[in-house]
């Protein structure tokens, strides 16, 4: 690339490098390093939570099994659900955003890079806390939904539920940090010329997700604070005997919990769009319709939570309203499916592994979507709610709708992350193994639910006809485990021996492919100028803008709608203090599980760490 200049790059390397050694490792604010950590951590929690699922499936392989007792089983499914939702699905999706979003919009760094590092440490420490608790037999025991009164101190004595609730707080902090970064990055750090109509769908998806996080997370934050207050101080938010109401928990939880599903799913929509576009070799059909569909899913998802409570005896007309609202979400989903299929039709598909996983998404997610439409119906929901039918539905939606696109995205962006391609041959085997395994595990569960098997039972008697389906599901879960192992093996082998990727191995159209693989710490040596929705597919070569300093961490801020250059911004240096702040807040979160004085004493180290973190640095004011 002509814009690359050896002298400038050498200076940029000095300016943007992290301090050496452990200090640099802890202090880095490079969104790519933090993003990689997020990804690896999330995959580690995915593997751990997957092992919990294997233990559950092994227990349920045969009726009357006594391998796992009821107490441990409660912890298994509670932590499996909690870890998959809070420690894998949401963070892994934001991790992709943290890594890719600045690259896709042509920025040198993410906005609020220190906050980004802080959020990651909170997430990591919270995840470690809950798994250590599980190892010490203090894992959560009331399901990932933690319904009161079962989760109240009367029925869940000890600290298990407090630790769960605090883990939720850890992940909320992390998620809100990322949400703020994504929104600010989207608003003001886009490359000049990247007007609102030229923004890749992946970036839109991250924006919609970030706004949803900002509105959904406070709800569960309130809920978990009420819960801890009830448990520790004897308040009565959820106690019906003193004027509280157990249903208040369900409303607060699901007002977060339903959008949560879309917080996981919408980034996946962005990944699918990127992959479909690249591998059909055509711009996505109906770009505007796709953006509107994502935004409307974001809004609608806040209006459906009551469909998780159809069996709770709420007023019938209200329930019917939520039936209609829940059904509505099938419209934007259908629009998106249409646009992707149209893009594939108009293009010339290339069947590489990322596209295979997206095709797997179509086959699996649409099953989950259609069973979701059935769950929206009040009468039908009262039958299949809280049964294995719902277990099947949610896994088809989450695995089909999020994990398949994610793994497809991983195969797609791995060359950008590492500079090497994943093995295509192993990738295809990986796809088929996972596809077969997931169907064998979860398809029979639809039938099990209809045949009367409730969820969250640690055993079931022989003679009800449930044996074959449970055995099939267990066999399938082992195939899924094999597929995950193969994926890990492929990553390890390809890191060592994979084919060198080059800047743009897939002939993709977006800006992240306009820099080297892996990108340098400063992402782009000059600022790319965007004149098209698919900038690398235009006949005209990409234009670059000079003028950013290379002896200071500088990036260009642009206007919200038109992305006109506005100011040069001095990007913060790496700092160890976000790490220490996270340690201090962790101290506070864990201390307060056991003693309310933790709120007081642990604020002291936190105040010190944050004061140093936010101490104004001497710098010349930025100018345009």
């Amino acid at each position: 690339m002509s814009a690359r200049n050896a002298d400038v790059e050498a200076q940029l390397a000095r300016t943007w490098s992290d301090p050496p050694g452990l200090l640099g490792w802890l202090a880095t604010t490079d969104h790519k390093r933090v993003g990689r950590r997020y990804l690896v951590t999330a995959m580690a929690f995915f593997a751990l939570a997957g092992m919990l699922a294997l233990a559950m499936r092994t227990q349920l392989a045969v009726p009357g099994n006594t391998l796992v007792g009821p107490d441990r089983y409660s912890q298994l499914f509670s932590l499996h659900g909690s870890a998959m939702m809070f420690l894998f699905a949401v963070p892994v999706m934001t991790a992709m955003g943290v890594y890719l979003l600045p690259l896709m919009i042509g920025a040198r760094a993410i906005s609020f890079p220190r906050l980004n590092a802080f959020g990651y440490w909170m997430y990591l420490l919270g995840g470690i806390m809950i798994f250590v608790a599980f190892a010490l037999d203090a894992g959560p025991e009331t399901g990932w939904t933690s319904y009161v009164p079962l989760a109240s101190s009367d029925f869940s004595a000890g600290k298990r539920t407090d630790i769960w609730s605090q883990m939720v707080n850890f992940t909320e902090v992390a998620a809100l940090c990322v949400a703020a970064e994504v929104v600010a990055s989207f608003m003001v750090t886009r490359a000049p010329g990247m007007r609102l109509d030229r923004i890749p769908l992946f970036v839109w998806a991250q924006l919609v997700t970030a706004f949803m996080v900002m509105f959904a997370m406070p709800s569960v934050m309130v809920a978990s604070q009420f819960l801890q207050s009830d448990r520790q101080f004897g308040t009565h938010f959820f106690n019906p005997g003193e004027g509280g109401d157990p249903l208040l928990w369900q409303h607060l939880f699901w007002f977060f919990g339903h959008p949560e599903v879309y917080i996981i799913f919408i980034p996946a929509l962005g990944m699918i769009s990127s992959i479909v576009q690249t591998f059909s070799r055509r711009p996505i059909f109906g770009h505007t319709a796709m953006v509107l569909a994502m935004v409307s899913i974001g809004f609608l998802s806040f209006g459906l939570w009551v469909h998780h409570m159809f069996a709770a005896g709420l007023p019938p007309l209200g329930n019917s309203f939520y039936t209609a609202a829940s059904m509505l979400i099938a419209i934007p989903s259908g629009v998106q499916i249409f646009c992707w299929i149209a893009t594939l039709w108009l293009g010339r598909p290339r069947f590489a592994t990322p596209l295979l996983f997206v095709l797997g998404f179509f086959a699996l997610f649409v099953i989950g979507g259609l069973s979701g439409v059935m769950l929206a119906s009040v009468p039908l929901d009262t039958q299949v709610h809280d049964t294995y039918f719902v277990v099947a539905h949610l896994h088809y939606v989450l695995i089909g709708g999020a994990v398949f696109p994610l793994i497809g995205g991983f195969y797609y962006w791995f060359p950008k992350f590492t500079g090497r391609l994943l093995s295509e041959r192993a990738g295809k085997v990986n796809f088929w193994l996972l596809f077969v395994g997931v169907n064998l595990t979860f398809f029979p569960m639809h039938w099990l639910g209809l045949a009367g098997m409730p969820r969250r039972v640690y055993t079931y008697p022989a003679g009800l006809g449930w044996e074959w389906a449970n055995l099939a599901a267990t066999a399938g879960s082992y195939i899924v485990a094999g597929a995950v192992l193969l994926f890990v093996g492929n990553v390890a082998w390809s890191l060592w021996r994979g084919k060198a990727a080059g800047d743009n191995p897939w002939d993709a159209p977006d800006l992240e492919w306009a820099t080297s693989s892996p990108p340098p710490p400063w992402n782009f040596t000059q600022v790319p100028v965007v004149e098209d929705l698919t900038p690398l597919w235009t006949a005209k070569p990409l234009q670059w803008l000079r003028g950013l300093k290379s002896d200071k961490r500088e990036m260009l801020l642009t206007s919200i709608a038109e992305a006109r250059p506005q100011v040069r911004w001095g990007c913060p240096d790496p700092s160890i203090w976000p790490f220490f702040s996270a340690l201090a807040l962790t101290l506070q979160f864990i201390w307060t599980i056991f003693d309310p004085w933790g709120w007081v004493w642990a604020s002291i180290p936190m105040a010190i760490a944050m004061t140093i973190w936010f101490w104004p640095k001497k710098s010349e004011p930025s100018s345009d």
Partner: protein
């Protein structure tokens, strides 16, 4: 024992099965059509054109119309689904004035079942069994004062939660005699898996006879062993939690045992109800239902035999 959503034996389950049929088949067609469209998009014959990426589509106008049509189709289908759901939901909400009243209370982890009567002496209290007459609507009032449970009898109706501080209700109008499995569907703690409510739907005459039998006081002990067993029951730990009408045992912390021997299961579905299992249960309840609130009664082998002899006679 029937327990399948799609083998309805009551008006309510029938209405829900209608919704299932009305949604499942169109959904199946939509799914297959989607797969077909996808396959066509992927493998259609393409003119030998430039393979270079980034070509703009030429026929976007037609595709825009198709998208509009597709959106209208989805909206129409969803409207039909919602209408079907709404209409059938009103069948679930219908109530008849002469319905049988039953009150079911969720405990950790068993069900208390009561048949209220304006005459208190004719009221019936039992546990872990529900009898209903065929062809007559029963209004089942649901309550809990501990955690949330959910009563689910798949062959008769969808589930309804039992929520502390609230009264909920479900109606069932059984149309076929037989035995149906009911169970708790909302996770309620350690022994959620063993919270079964066997349901017997019988002719009105058989139901009336059963209800009369339940109104009777407990059978007196029929053997010396049983007599000793009754004594142990009344003076030992059993009476602290259990009631047997007509005796000194009157606590309602645990299931009422007045007609224990006529019930199908022990421990709300943990064990079948026969002599051997009753012995095993009393010898060590935690072994068969780990976490149950019933402690080990710590009876000597002789006391155990006597208590079982007494309980066996409580038909």
């Amino acid at each position: 024992m029937t327990h399948h959503v799609l083998a309805p034996a009551a008006d309510q389950a029938e209405a829900i099965a209608t919704v299932w049929q009305g949604l499942f088949w169109p959904n199946l067609v939509i799914y297959l059509a989607m797969l077909a469209a996808l396959a066509w998009a992927l493998w259609r014959r393409r003119p030998a054109a430039d393979e270079a990426p980034g070509l703009r589509a030429k026929h976007t106008h037609h595709w825009g119309l198709a998208l509009l049509g597709w959106t209208v189709f989805i909206a129409a289908t969803l409207t039909a689904y919602t209408a079907l759901s709404f209409v059938q939901d009103r069948r679930l909400l219908a109530r008849e004035p002469d319905a049988l009243r039953v009150r079911v209370t969720g405990e950790q982890w068993w069900w208390q079942v009561e048949y209220p009567d304006s005459d208190p002496s004719r009221q019936v209290t039992t546990a872990n069994e529900l009898h209903l007459p065929v062809g007559r609507m029963a209004r089942i009032e649901l309550q809990s004062d501990n955690v949330i449970h959910s009563l689910w009898i798949p062959a008769l109706n969808g589930k309804q939660d039992l929520i502390p501080g609230r009264r909920t209700e479900m109606a069932v109008t059984p149309r076929a005699t037989g035995h149906y499995r009911g169970e708790c569907a909302e996770f309620c703690g350690l022994q959620h898996a063993h919270m079964v409510l066997p349901v017997t739907v019988e002719s009105p005459a058989a139901f009336a006879a059963w209800l009369d039998a339940q109104r009777a006081q407990a059978a007196p002990p029929a053997s010396p062993s049983a007599t000793r067993g009754k004594q142990v029951f009344e003076s030992g730990p059993c009476a602290l939690c259990h009631a047997i009408s007509g005796t000194d045992a009157g606590s309602h912390a645990g299931p009422d045992l007045t007609h224990l021997a006529s019930r199908p299961t022990l421990g709300a579905g943990a064990l079948p109800n026969d002599r051997a299992h009753l012995l095993a249960w009393l010898a060590d309840p935690q072994a068969h239902k780990p976490g149950t609130n019933m402690p080990d009664p710590k009876l000597s082998p002789a006391q155990l035999t006597d208590v079982v002899a007494y309980l066996e006679g409580l038909r």
